[in-house]
């Protein structure tokens, strides 16, 4: 198993007490594509980031098991974590505007990632960077390698980000809302690209999103989170047969182009969803 999470709990201290952000989550991931879906504050990002131990410093984490490829992430020191973060597990965030360095060219950033993880000279790394840009289907990789992030569109920036994450040839890719800042057309292109690269390289993928139907097109399995808990886990193809009222609510409240709804269904939240 690439990722094993058993009974993960993440809580944050508050002025008087503490708040539970993630409660008793268990997930496993092999060489497959897992979607984690939920609304803001459902704990989906925290769950995925806990694998890299990239959590806010005041987070109190406990788990029966939290392992990446057999390595116990809970007990690992910074040295061990550095050999996982970026190198064996890459992270793609929502907005490339904030995750790319504004004063370095796209090529230089990818080359830097290459050299940090794989060594080698500048020229070799730059050649590798251009090759990676071609792999993320950028038509003119030479030209884009010379460009600064502000000269790139959102979709192009996200491709650069993906190229940078692929440089160390990781086994796992965590994509946290990778297309929420992009147009529908570009969104589909980027997700198809991620899906294609992950399948061809035999990687594991965790795709985090709030868009349930969208995720089902690009993942094998979907875990639905609500208030820090996984309330339902099912094969992407079985989504229409979802049983939990929250999952069904997520699907029913969407306006659709194919059939008109006079009024959108509003989710009636049941306090019993908070019970385990």
């Amino acid at each position: 198993m690439l990722v094993e999470i058993q009974n993960l709990r993440i809580r944050f201290p508050t002025a008087t007490d503490h708040s539970d952000a993630v409660r008793n989550v268990s997930l496993t991931l092999g060489q497959e594509k897992l979607g984690i879906v939920g609304e803001s504050g459902s704990g989906k990002s925290l769950t995925a980031r806990s694998i890299l131990r990239l959590l806010p410093s005041n987070a109190v984490v406990s788990a029966d098991r939290l392992a990446f490829d057999g390595i116990d992430v809970m007990r690992a020191d910074e040295m061990v974590l550095r050999r996982i973060r970026g190198a064996r597990a890459g992270l793609i965030l929502q907005d490339p505007k904030f995750s790319l360095n504004p004063v370095m060219t796209a090529g230089a950033q990818i080359a830097e990632a290459w050299r940090v993880h794989r060594g080698g000279g500048r020229k070799l790394a730059m050649r590798a960077a251009i090759d990676l840009l071609a792999q993320v289907q950028i038509r003119d990789p030479q030209h884009v390698a010379q460009a600064y992030p502000h000269e790139l569109s959102g979709g192009m920036g996200q491709r650069v980000m993906i190229a940078m994450m692929l440089a160390p040839d990781p086994e796992l890719l965590i994509a946290d809302e990778p297309t929420s800042a992009l147009d529908a057309t570009v969104q589909a292109e980027i997700l198809r690209l991620i899906e294609d690269l992950v399948s061809r390289r035999g990687m594991g993928l965790i795709l985090i999103s709030h868009d349930l139907p969208l995720v089902s097109h690009f993942c094998d399995r979907v875990a639905v989170m609500y208030a820090g808990r996984v309330v339902e886990e099912l094969a992407a193809a079985d989504l229409t047969r979802a049983r939990h009222p929250y999952t069904r609510g997520l699907l029913e409240c969407l306006p659709t182009l194919s059939h008109q709804k006079r009024r959108l269904a509003v989710m009636q939240r049941d306090p019993s969803w908070l019970e385990p």
Binding site: V186, T240, C253, T256, L257
Partner: protein, 248 residues
Amino acid sequence: MIEIDGLSVRFGRTEAVKAISFSVAQGESFGIVGESGSGKSTVLRALSGLNPDWTGRMSVDGQALTRRRSKDFYRRVQMVFQDPYGSLHPRQTVDRLLSEPLLVHRMDNVERRIMRGLNEVALPTSIRFRYPHQLSGGQRQRVAIARALMAEPQVLLLDEPTSALDVSVQAEVLNLLSDLQQAHGLTYILVSHNLAVVAHLCGRIGVMQSGELVELLSADDLRAGRTRHPHTAALRELSIELEEPETA
């Protein structure tokens, strides 16, 4: 209610909006869809008076718009933005945010209007003295809508009003917008890249691509696939493909 004829907007040498024309009747909802950079938000900004560098003719309620607008214009035409976190003053309470338009337009009964405003967008009065950061995303967008309604406008310009919200909250806000339109006979122009959202709220839709209005069609025609321009057809196809959950 709104007539736009040959509107062009330039930023330096680039023409962001190229001589577009459309009209919106009183009480109607008109939608504009297009990708980023197609010029859809620029149309709204020119109409609302946020961008003075436009040419062509625009009129609201029979009055031709000039570069400088009257105070009354800014009362009758209000705008709601995508991200309520960016459009609400972070150091002002909801009470202050809602009373500002009333002070600007010298309206009376401030107390009663604020309570009614909160009630209208289904916000509890307990949030009246909270700051924006103490509210959820959906509550913030409701405050932004309540503020836009304070001055009793005729026209609401909505720029991606639900794109930053969770889908369950989006449904509530879209329902709220339909109810408010019914109750006040408001005229809407809704800009979004989400075809399903636009078709849900609007009867007629304009499709923009690189600054041009390439097609005007009814929501029914869009749903049924009676499109004439290839860009409309492409946007429609993608939207339908991705909105349905995958089935085995």
